[in-house]
Every structure is written in structure tokens, then in C-alpha cells.
């Protein structure tokens, strides 16, 4: 067998060209993703400083206008500037995404650690988690928002709760496999207490997969927010979020598809970037891919 030139050589620059310390290699894809994400986040944060119009200001004379010099991306059905709304819309969407990721990872980590180490608690916790997983998250979110009103907090809570079981399962499985490791048994033999072993030996094993899981949750939370708004069960309609802008745009979809296109593009780019970064992190952190150095 001789080495044949890989047909992938042309795509190498995109996926595996750049070597990092410790033998890590990442492609241009994740780097572009990081830049895109950085720009989106920065733009959303700084939106009030530079957007050309007040994203909430209506103007009955300027309804559904096409792109112009004053309105670069045109206006919506209430005569509001689409560009300003799309950029500002990222604020709430990103806040919900990151918030849901952080909160569900924290809560899931705590429950998962307990579940992974205390057999008695485990049976009960896992039954509850199985049940939570059985309830489709969109429907659960719809019910929660229907009952608690359309505030940012209830939307965030509604998105966070269904994610917790997945985090718990992940943490638990990592803990269960790590506690069989000889170094954990050695710690036990050295007289370390259970909480100490849990925190010092087992918990660090969960961090890498949790970072990866966190990025996926963040992406899926932003998507769910958009879907909830689209279905009329999201954040109250006055607040611009990517989902709300698209939900309002759907009525005029055949007349003016750009009302869905621009926020959809921003949202997709953002989620795509987060997912790509998540994939990269997973590839880099996956211990199975690391060689055992002798």
C-alpha cells in the first residue's frame, strides 16, 4: 500500500490546516465561525450606539418599504427599520441562549454529580429525568409560557428546563465511567472522602463534555426562542427578537420575503457558528482522539 493523495486535500485548508500547540489542529471553518460570532455578539451589545433608527419607532408612512438609503434593509409592516431591529434583536436572543446554556449546565451538573455517585438518589432522579425528557420541549415551553406570561424570564425558564435532563444524563454517564477508574479507587484507598473525590477527581472529567454540550444548548435555545415567538408563545411582541421579527414577517411573507430572510440569516449564521465551534471543541477535547503518550 502506498500513500495515495487524499481527495480531501483541497478541503484541508477549511478543516485541518492550522496546527496549534499540543498537536491540536483546527481548520479555517471554526476560525471564521469565531469571527462571525464575535461580530454578531459585538454588534448586538453595541446596538444602541450605532443602529440608524430606534428599533421600536413606528412610522405609518414608511410601511413595508424596500431598501433605501435611510432604511438599508427596508421597513416592516409598522414602518420600523429592519436593520435596526435585526441587529437589536440579537440582544434578547443571545441573552436567552447563553442564559439557558449556563443555567441548565449548572443545575444539570449538580444533579448529575449527585445522581452519579449516590445509588439511592440515582434511581429516583433518573426516573424524573426520563419523564422530563418524554415531554416534548416545545410543548412544555408553550405550556409554561401560556401559564406564566410572555416575559423573557418565562421563555428562558421554559427553554432551560427541558435541557436539564440531557445535561444530567451526560454528567452522570461521565461520573459513572470515571468512578471505575483505578485512580479514583486509589484515592479511596488513600482515605479521601466521597465529596472530595466527587469534586476533585470526578467533576473535572465532566467539564470538557459540558463545554461542548453548553454550546449546543446555547444554539438550540436560540432556535427554540425563535420557534416559540413564531408560534406566538414567545417573548412579548413589542420586544424585538429574531423570532419575533420573523413571526411578524410571516404574514407578509409572499409580499416581502426579506422580512424573514434577514433575521433568519442572522439567526442561522449565529447558530451555525456556535455549532461549528461546539464541534471543534468536541473534536479537540474528546479524550478518545488523544493519543496515549508513552
Amino acid at each position: 500500500m502506498t500513500a495515495t493523495p487524499q481527495p480531501a486535500a483541497r478541503l484541508q485548508w477549511l478543516f485541518g490546516a492550522i496546527a496549534l500547540p499540543r498537536g491540536w489542529r483546527i481548520g479555517a471553518g471554526p476560525i471564521i465561525a469565531a469571527i462571525v460570532l464575535f461580530v454578531i455578539v459585538l454588534a448586538a451589545l453595541a446596538a444602541p450606539l450605532f443602529v440608524p433608527h430606534d428599533p421600536m419607532a413606528m412610522d405609518a408612512l414608511q410601511r413595508l418599504k424596500g431598501p433605501s438609503e435611510t432604511y438599508l434593509l427596508g421597513t416592516d409592516a409598522y414602518g420600523r427599520d429592519v436593520l435596526s431591529r435585526v441587529v437589536t434583536g440579537g440582544r434578547v436572543s443571545l441573552f436567552i441562549g447563553i442564559g439557558a446554556a449556563v443555567v441548565s449546565v449548572m443545575i444539570g451538573l449538580m444533579i448529575g454529580l449527585v445522581s452519579g455517585f449516590f445509588r439511592l438518589a440515582d434511581a429516583i432522579i433518573m426516573r424524573i429525568m426520563d419523564s422530563l425528557m418524554a415531554i416534548p420541549s416545545i410543548l412544555l415551553a408553550i405550556a409554561l409560557v401560556a401559564l406564566n406570561g410572555p416575559s423573557i424570564w418565562s421563555v428562558m425558564g421554559a427553554i432551560t428546563i427541558p435541557e436539564i435532563p440531557r445535561v444530567v444524563r451526560l454528567v452522570r454517564s461521565v461520573v459513572l465511567s470515571a468512578r471505575e477508574e483505578p485512580y479514583v479507587e486509589a484515592a479511596l484507598a488513600l482515605g479521601s472522602s466521597m465529596p472530595k473525590i466527587l469534586w476533585q477527581h470526578l467533576m473535572p472529567n465532566t467539564l470538557a463534555p459540558l463545554i461542548v454540550q453548553g454550546t449546543y444548548i446555547c444554539a438550540s435555545a436560540i432556535l427554540t426562542e425563535a420557534i416559540l415567538s413564531f408560534l406566538g408563545a414567545g417573548v412579548s411582541t413589542e420586544i424585538p427578537t429574531w423570532g419575533n421579527i420573523m413571526a411578524e414577517g410571516r404574514v407578509y411573507f409572499q409580499l416581502k420575503p426579506s422580512l424573514i430572510f434577514w433575521p433568519g440569516l442572522m439567526l442561522s449564521l449565529c447558530i451555525l457558528s456556535i455549532n461549528l465551534l461546539g464541534d471543534t471543541a468536541r473534536d479537540l477535547l474528546d479524550p478518545r482522539l488523544k493519543k496515549r503518550e508513552g
Binding site: 419523564s131 418524554a134 433568519g264
Partner: protein
């Protein structure tokens, strides 16, 4: 083997009980008066009272629970606050379009996604692999309604190949059904395909590194046989699992897709219920879909015994 099957079936019971308790408490433990929340700000005292009796909110909690579960076991999910018809009846009328589209989507997704994942794993780190990975990341990243509108824009409005929206039952003619169902199915399938293809690839990559794959190659077996006879069956369990858990995603997708394509299924029913604050319908849908989810995952759990002879604890 029999022990495994019985234990799996029995394990469903606590899960369903907890789901029921959870759904029951969802409304009752909401801060404030649930009736007032459901009725909205403009409600008259008479309306509030009607909602309270309809939902049985006046009794003590444990009495409410017993009554509620009693009705549930008789198959009664309550009555709609708007139309006053039983929720089971409303769902029964709307279930078929959803069922047809969901089944078609699942079949379509598995048929597309599994070979995609297998080939990606086999051609690991080649352009085929990267293309599959790129597709699956994209599939995760675009909201399902954006895909729906994109398809309508391209295939119905620009190319005029397919009707824009609407639904026809297969009994009205299969061609007619297909013409209207294909876009919703593709829309729904995008994320599902992404999910399954990704899991297939990951699972296959792991299996392809196993010793018995080397053994098969050492026997001189053809690569296609190695992939589909030896590897895929060993990789099947995680793939089946993701098909099952992905069902929850599918349900969310159905609600959105039916609304985009104007299909009179249970998804639309749910959206209408949200807008009308018809809580019993939402609650009924949650119970129904959770039950379905649990049932499907039970079937999948049982199917493991077919894929893997080692499962018989």
C-alpha cells in the same frame, strides 16, 4: 430476554406517572390564579368561574388529582374552553394528517440519513465526510420554519412545481397527497436527517475501529460487506436511540411545519390553542405526545434485543 422485555415494559409505568404528576402540577402550581391567567385580563367573574369548574380548580389539590387521574385513565383529557368539545375528540379529528406526515418523514429521514452517515464514516476525512458534516451542521442551524418558507419560495413560487400550502388525504389520491406532503416532509426531515446522519457517522467511526472489523477485513471480505453486514449492525443501538429521542424534536417540528404549510393536523390545533389560551388542549397534547414518546422509545428499547444478542439482563 423475557426478563428484559418485562422490565422495560414495567419501567414505563413510573415514567408515565411522573409525567402525569408533572403536567397536573404545571397548571396548579403556577403562581397566581390559573383561571385568571388562562382567561386573560379581560375576563368576567362568570368566565373565571366557568374555567375553574371546567378544570376542577376549586377542590383541594389531592381531590383534584384523584379526579383528574380518574378521568385520564378513562381516556378523557378534558373539554376545550373555547369550543366546549372534548379534547380527545378534537385530537382524534386532527390526528391523521399529522400521523401520515410524521410516518413519511421518519421513513424518509432514516432512508436518507443512515447511508449518509455510513459513507461519511467510511470515507472519514475526505470531502464526502466533510460534505455530510457540513450538511448536518446546517440542518441544525436553520429554524424549521425558515426552511419551510425557503422551500415554498423555491419550489412553489419560483419553480411552480408544487402547490403552495394545504393538505390532501392519501384517500383523495396518492399523487395529490404526495404533492402537498413532500415539502412539509422534507422540511421536517432536515433536522432529523442531520441528527441521525451525525449519530450514524459517530457510531460507525467507533465501530470501524474495533478489532472484529479488522478480523473481517483479514478474511478478505468486501468493504461493502464490512460496512453494512459487520459494522452497521454493531453501530445500530445508538442510531436507534437517537431516532427515538429525536422524536421529541419531530413533535416540535410538526407544530411549526403544519402552521407554515397550513395543514389541518394536531400541530395546527396546538398553535390555535396557544393563541386562544385553550389550556386543556395544550395539556392534552402534552400528555398524548409524551405517551407516544415513551411508547416509541419502549419499542426501540425492545428492538435492541434484535440488534444485539448480548442484551438479556
Amino acid at each position: 430476554m423475557l426478563g428484559y422485555i418485562i422490565r422495560r415494559i414495567l419501567a414505563v409505568i413510573p415514567v408515565m406517572v411522573i409525567v402525569a404528576v408533572f403536567v397536573f402540577l404545571l397548571l396548579r402550581l403556577t403562581p397566581g390564579d390559573p383561571a385568571a391567567i388562562i382567561a386573560g385580563d379581560m375576563a368576567t367573574p362568570a368566565q373565571l368561574e366557568r374555567i375553574r369548574t371546567s378544570l376542577g380548580l376549586s377542590d383541594p389539590l389531592h381531590v383534584q388529582f384523584v379526579t383528574w387521574v380518574g378521568l385520564l385513565l378513562k381516556g378523557e383529557l378534558g373539554t376545550s374552553l373555547i369550543s366546549n368539545t372534548p379534547v380527545t375528540q378534537m385530537i382524534g379529528q386532527r390526528i391523521w394528517p399529522t400521523f401520515n406526515i410524521a410516518v413519511m418523514t421518519i421513513i424518509l429521514s432514516v432512508v436518507i440519513a443512515v447511508p449518509m452517515g455510513v459513507i461519511a464514516a467510511w470515507r472519514h476525512r475526505t470531502w464526502v465526510d466533510y460534505a455530510v458534516m457540513a450538511f448536518s451542521v446546517l440542518g441544525f442551524s436553520i429554524p424549521v420554519f425558515v426552511i419551510g418558507y425557503l422551500f415554498i419560495q423555491v419550489f412553489s413560487i419560483e419553480l411552480r412545481w408544487l402547490p403552495v400550502q394545504g393538505y390532501a388525504a392519501p384517500t383523495d389520491g396518492f399523487g395529490k397527497f404526495l404533492a402537498r406532503a413532500i415539502l412539509p416532509c422534507l422540511t421536517l426531515a432536515t433536522i432529523y436527517v442531520a441528527l441521525i446522519a451525525r449519530m450514524t457517522r459517530a457510531s460507525m467511526l467507533e465501530v470501524l475501529g474495533e478489532d472484529y472489523i479488522r478480523t473481517a477485513r483479514a478474511k478478505g471480505v468486501k468493504e461493502t460487506v464490512v460496512l453494512f453486514r459487520h459494522a452497521l449492525r454493531n453501530a445500530a443501538v445508538p442510531i436507534m436511540t437517537i431516532i427515538g429521542t429525536g422524536f421529541a424534536l419531530l413533535i416540535g417540528g410538526v407544530v411549526v411545519t403544519e402552521s407554515v404549510f397550513n395543514i389541518p393536523g394536531v400541530g395546527r390545533l396546538t398553535v390555535d390553542a396557544i393563541l386562544a389560551r385553550d389550556y386543556p388542549v395544550i395539556q392534552g397534547m402534552i400528555l398524548l405526545t409524551s405517551g407516544l414518546y415513551v411508547f416509541i422509545n419502549l419499542v426501540i428499547d425492545l428492538s435492541y434485543t434484535f440488534f444485539d444478542p448480548r442484551i438479556r439482563y
